[in-house]
């Protein structure tokens, strides 16, 4: 097994590594502070894993999972947790993250990050599963806030409270997806700034940025859809700057999964995040010098 060591993720801008960019990243070693890969894409062997192992020698790495289904009422899929553990052991990422959502019931994988009711029962389930994953991986994980298109009538607490409580009870960190906050706030009439302000800064381990789409439904209502298929929207950049002011400099990732553009486009987006991060670094430096 290769020994990479846990190069920590710096509070700088990274990009999501996707298959179409493997060769370009391996060949050109672009100037980006870190990379994040999807855990489920590297569970087998062969050329893609070898390529990531090669690239990984030069960049701090984060692994971002979509399949653990932390919010499943039933037990976690032990075989999938074992696959995650194996992948994490092999690639030794500096960060491991998953989602505040569910995707498995009755043994069926629904291939989506489905919303949870914000109830005490769901909170207990998520906390139990986060603790189980952290014990299996022998490390702290980050849990990402979802983008949602529906709410359940029997929810008893706001999502930001639920997420903060998961972090408080389990010691996990929060992956704050600013685009998801914007999307959910638009869809449900929430105040995105209040959501950000309610998150505990000490728990924030990473920020995600990505693009979203607007879909007009029958009847004229518009839903914002988190499709990671375009540049980060102006409103999300504004919210990101607010987040940085609240959390301080935080590792920030630009994601793009639909109609993946040339690598340069991702690097441009990452450079924009990097400029905002540097500004916050300078300000926090001035504040601590004062």
């Amino acid at each position: 097994m290769q020994q990479f060591g846990h190069s920590p993720i710096p509070p700088k801008a990274g990009i999501g590594l996707r298959f179409p960019h493997h060769q370009a990243v391996a060949d050109t070693r672009p100037d980006v502070a870190w990379l994040e890969a999807h855990t489920e894409n590297y569970m087998g062997g062969g050329t893609s894993l070898r390529c990531l192992e090669t690239i990984r020698r030069d960049y701090p790495l984060s692994l971002h999972g979509v399949g653990l289904s932390l919010g499943s009422a039933e037990a976690l899929d032990a075989a999938h947790l074992e696959r995650v553990r194996h992948t994490v052991d092999r690639l030794e990422p500096a960060l491991v993250s998953e989602h505040l959502s569910w995707s498995v019931v009755g043994g069926i994988y629904l291939a989506d990050l489905l919303p949870l009711p914000m109830t005490e029962e769901a909170l207990d389930v998520v906390c139990r599963h986060v603790e189980q994953v952290q014990a299996a991986l022998r490390r702290r994980i980050l849990v990402e806030n979802p983008s949602t298109y529906l709410r359940f009538a029997h929810s008893t607490m706001p999502e930001w409270e639920f997420l903060a409580e998961v972090a408080e009870r389990t010691g996990c960190g929060i992956l704050c997806d600013v685009n998801n906050i914007h999307v959910s706030a638009c869809n449900h009439g929430w105040n995105a700034s209040a959501y950000l302000a309610a998150l505990p800064p000490a728990a924030i381990g990473e920020i995600h940025l990505g693009g979203h789409a607007r879909r007009k439904l029958d009847g004229g209502r518009v839903l914002h859809i988190d499709d990671h298929g375009s540049r980060v929207a102006p409103a999300v950049w504004t919210l990101y700057a607010e987040g940085l002011a609240h959390f301080g400099p935080t590792p920030t990732l630009v994601e793009w999964d639909t109609d993946v553009p040339p690598l340069e486009v991702l690097l441009e987006e990452a450079a924009r995040a990097a400029a905002l991060l540097e500004e916050v670094e300078r300000e926090s430096g001035r504040a601590s010098a004062a």
């Binding site: 062997g45 050329t47 979509v66 399949g67 999938h80 069926i108 298109y149 009538a153 839903l223």
Partner: protein, 263 residues
């Protein structure tokens, strides 16, 4: 289920019915409308489910996708996904039964060679994503006592697989992926069966034709038949040469010793 306070498991089962079986009622009753029909809100997740899995099948079966045309492929995928939703969050493993499904899916079943091409594509997909494993070091076999050597069972490399098709599935597969219409037109689908070996080599996935006898011997070895017995029973004179080539190409990654009574 009480829509006022459903248990989490009941709610998740209801959402699953809404997504997989289009049976929205129970889940929709728990969702706040807020100006949008709850069924339309659930529909977003149903669309994601269908599009993610259709795309996953398209990635695993690119030649079938081109052979049957996009619309037909999507129609087949829609029915297959509903009948056999994934049981695992690693989607590289999803779609193993798609070739058998295509063989009995009327719009596709009329084109007799499609299921064979699909089985080849699944073997290629498996080979692409299989775990890494070091090839068997044959000196470890030589070090065995003679009595033990008679009981050796070889373990195939995780990427190795065998496909037998009634039509020249490999030629069709190559021509379709290369978008070489002239090559495709030159293939006689009735040219007879092919016996194929698929495995991952340093340079990528390899698909090669074997003779029927070499294929049968390889199938026996991959199935865990004791090596000694498989070689004695092999119908072909070149059995040892076939084995030597497999070993040299790293198509076995280990061995075990069979019980003396069952070998």
């Amino acid at each position: 289920m009480s829509p006022a306070a459903p248990a989490l498991l009941e709610l998740q089962r209801a959402v699953c019915r809404g997504i997989v079986a289009r049976d929205d009622g129970d889940a929709a009753a728990c969702i706040i409308a807020d100006g949008i029909d709850p069924a339309a809100r659930l529909g977003i997740h149903r669309n994601t489910f269908a599009s993610v899995l259709t795309n996953s099948l398209r990635l695993s079966y690119p030649a079938v996708h081109r052979l049957v045309a996009a619309e037909c492929f999507e129609g087949a995928a829609r029915v297959y996904i509903e009948e056999q939703p994934p049981r695992c969050a690693n989607l590289d493993d999803y779609g193993a039964d798609f070739p058998e499904f295509l063989a009995r899916f009327p719009p596709v079943a009329a084109v007799a060679y499609v299921p064979g091409v699909a089985r080849l594509e699944w073997a290629v997909n498996r080979a692409l994503h299989a775990q890494d494993a070091d090839p068997l070091d044959i000196t470890s076999l030589a070090a065995l006592a003679e009595e033990e050597q008679a009981r050796v069972r070889l373990a195939p490399h995780p990427s190795a697989g065998l496909v037998c098709a009634d039509h020249p599935a490999d030629s069709i597969w190559r021509a379709v992926l290369a978008q070489d219409d002239a090559a495709l037109a030159a293939i006689d689908p009735a040219a007879g069966p092919v016996w194929l070996l698929v495995n991952r080599a340093e340079t990528g996935v390899e698909v090669r034709r074997l003779s029927e006898d070499a294929w049968s011997l390889t199938a026996a070895l991959f199935a865990g038949r004791a090596l000694h017995r498989a070689l004695v029973d092999a119908p072909c004179a070149e059995a040892r040469a076939v084995l030597a080539e497999h070993l040299a190409a790293g198509r076995f990654s280990g061995f075990s010793l069979a019980d003396p009574l069952t070998s």
